[in-house]
């Protein structure tokens, strides 16, 4: 395992709830995440698994109300950012930790030029003058493959893929140590997605950043990430290196995700969906949240919530089934 000093990000037992009229939405229920320097962690899960909430917690941007960080610690290079002042936190946002959001169509302010939107962040964090900042904005645009002249244009003059490049430019303008990308390519077409992923990989390597890639697409994880954490109902059910999780899958839910995917090279392999639906986060089932959909569930699963336990250095899985000796998943072909 990594020692504390190697980690850029170390999240311990994070709990985030949303207090709504209908009840408490248990969005994140005790998550541990470690990201070493210059590593890329993929966070995978379906709608409502708590991916975005986790990401926003790292920037302390959970909308409050209704969201509350109920507990846990988030160490950014050794400092617990849940304990610092809002003023200090603002210095971290955009400078040390930057974020790329899902929808490029709505994530840029329509009434400011793209140049101004990039310049704003460098001006704020690096104390540059207005003209220096605008020059930097142009350079940053070039870096993501957009001619600097276009910095005086407005977002509506850019196509979807170009807008996402602008968003990447804003995020990278101050050379952040950690980049959080929340489904950065979901809204894009396949060929444009390929361009954006290629660009992000390239810049990450060049700038030596750490990255968290949030996605529902296992293919993207395989292409971009070193490590992966699988989220279900606000908990990590399996984590490890991409090889460990993809090649020796241990959790029944991860198995279900893989089995749900059509295999592109084998047309004959029938998909095997996970039965049932995601649980309502207001009324999570007792015990393991996955047990109502799990083909291997037994008594204990309905009563006790499984903790993440490690098989080897890095491969963790939260599942009771491994109490039974000789348990093995039946992964499709």
């Amino acid at each position: 395992m990594n020692t504390k000093n190697d980690l850029i990000l170390d999240i311990n037992n994070l709990v985030v709830h949303y207090e709504t009229v209908e009840g408490t939405v248990q969005a994140v229920n005790g998550i541990d995440i470690q990201v070493p320097h210059k590593h890329t962690l993929g966070i995978v899960g379906e709608t409502g698994a708590g991916k975005t909430t986790t990401a926003l917690s790292i920037l302390r941007l959970i909308p409050d109300p209704p969201g509350i960080i109920k507990g846990g610690e988030i160490f950014l290079e050794g400092e617990d950012i849940l304990k610092i002042s809002e003023k200090k936190m603002r210095k971290i946002r955009g400078r040390d930790v930057a974020m790329i959001f899902q929808d490029p169509m709505t994530s840029l302010n329509p009434v400011h030029t793209v140049g101004a939107q990039i310049a704003e962040v460098v001006q704020l964090h690096e104390g540059l003058s207005r003209s220096e900042a605008i020059k930097r904005a142009g350079e940053t645009l070039e870096m993501v493959g957009i001619p600097a002249e276009r910095s005086t244009e407005y977002p509506h003059q850019f196509s979807g893929g170009m807008k996402q490049r602008v968003i990447i430019a804003i995020a990278l303008a101050c050379n952040p140590k950690l980049l959080i990308a929340d489904e950065p390519t979901t809204a894009l077409d396949v060929t444009i997605q390929a361009q954006a992923l290629e660009l992000m990989k390239d810049l990450r390597n060049r700038l030596g950043m750490s990255m968290i890639m949030i996605t529902h697409d296992l293919g993207i994880v395989a292409e971009v990430c070193d490590d992966v954490a699988v989220l279900y109902a606000g908990r990590i059910v399996e984590s490890g290196t991409v090889r460990e999780v993809f090649k020796s899958t241990m959790h029944p839910y991860t198995e279900g995700l893989f089995n749900s995917l059509p295999v592109i090279n084998d047309k004959g392999a029938r998909i095997k969906p996970i039965p049932g639906l995601m649980p309502d986060p207001i009324e999570l089932p007792e015990g393991c949240a996955f047990h109502p959909r799990c083909p291997y569930a037994f008594d204990k699963c309905t009563k006790e919530t499984p903790e993440l336990r490690y098989f080897g250095e890095t491969h963790g899985v939260a599942c009771h089934a491994y109490d039974q000796t000789g348990f093995k998943l039946k992964r499709r072909g």
Binding site: E46, A194, P262, L277
Partner: protein, 315 residues
């Protein structure tokens, strides 16, 4: 052996816009055999959804014809069209928008039955609705629920049940799973597959997701800016993609196979505007193999090997 159920001849749809004529669908030809699935693949704005709507005549085509079992759909009169609606149905992409929020599940599913006066009494209609709900895997107790009370997967099941109500032969599936999560997507895909087997349905499966379309279709047609660029049996298309666009599209799918990393073909630029497109091949601006001949126009779709059609002057 199998007979043709749908044929599309030189189908065109142009929309008038402020900036000029938008060539949404620009002269496409294909046919589907009974009981088979044709996948229609392309990126946003390529005209695939418009094609689906033209086939059902939810839009009036600018030119060309749609033949359903030899009958011309595009010239059918009101009464003939009404009869044809029983045969051809559609499942929409967005299960939020395509269900009237003020109608209960019973009302939604029974609507076509009532409109076509399939049964003379309510008890029979109710029985049919219950049966349809069972068929698509909706619990009976939800019969009086409203769409907004349900999740996306269940809502899409309502959409499927409605499409099945009149026992059609052909169903246009317009991105039926792209709004859904992976595990729910798999449930709906399996449902559609089972239904096809049991009822002998024919599908036109419109999607942007290549892995889904490969799994689901017998044949695949690839669309780019209103034109078909390649069409082949899906196994052949995936093994031997010939059009530069198809090749790039296939290589762009993120693969979960971490041991066999493939070389990715990156395209330049983005999809160009479908408004007043120039005479040249629609893909010329982004193509890595573009030559002078490509600027003269887009070649017709021609058969390069049995069942494999291609529209490219270079390959």
């Amino acid at each position: 052996m199998a007979k043709e159920i749908l044929r599309v001849n030189n189908l065109k749809k142009y929309f008038k816009t402020k900036r000029g004529l938008l060539h949404a669908v620009d002269g496409i030809n294909f046919s589907i055999e009974e009981g088979k699935t044709l996948g229609l693949v392309g990126e946003s704005g390529c005209g695939k959804s418009t094609t689906g709507r033209l086939i059902l005549r939810l839009l009036e085509p600018t030119d060309g014809e749609v033949l359903y079992k030899g009958k011309n759909v595009t010239t059918a009169n009101k009464k003939e069209m009404h009869e044809l609606r029983k045969e051809m149905q559609i499942i929409f992409q967005d299960p939020f928008a395509s269900l009237n929020p003020r109608k209960s599940i019973y009302e939604l599913i029974s609507e076509p039955l009532r409109w076509f006066k399939v049964y003379d009494n309510k008890a029979q209609t109710l029985k049919k609705v219950e049966k349809l709900m069972e068929t698509v895997g909706l619990a009976q107790r939800l019969i009086n629920s409203y769409p907004h009370e349900l999740d996306g997967g269940r809502r899409q099941r309502i959409g499927v049940a409605r499409a099945l109500a009149l026992e059609p032969k052909l169903i246009v599936c317009d991105e039926p799973v792209s709004a859904l999560d992976v595990s729910i997507q798999a449930q709906i895909l399996n449902l559609l597959e089972d239904l096809q087997k049991e009822m002998g349905l024919t599908y036109l499966f419109i999607t942007h997701d290549l892995s889904v379309v490969n799994y689901f279709s017998d044949d695949i047609a690839v669309m780019y800016l209103g034109k078909l660029v390649e069409k082949a049996p899906s196994i052949e298309l995936f093994k031997n993609p010939m059009h530069p666009y198809t090749q790039a599209l296939l290589s762009a799918i993120p693969s979960i196979d971490i041991d066999n990393k493939k070389e990715r073909i990156l395209l330049k630029g983005e999809i160009s505007s479908p408004i007043n497109p120039p005479e040249e091949c629609r893909f010329a601006k982004r193509c890595n193999y573009v030559q002078d001949i490509c600027l003269k126009g887009q070649p017709e779709l021609r058969e390069v090997s049995p069942g494999h059609f291609l529209s490219c002057a270079v390959m």
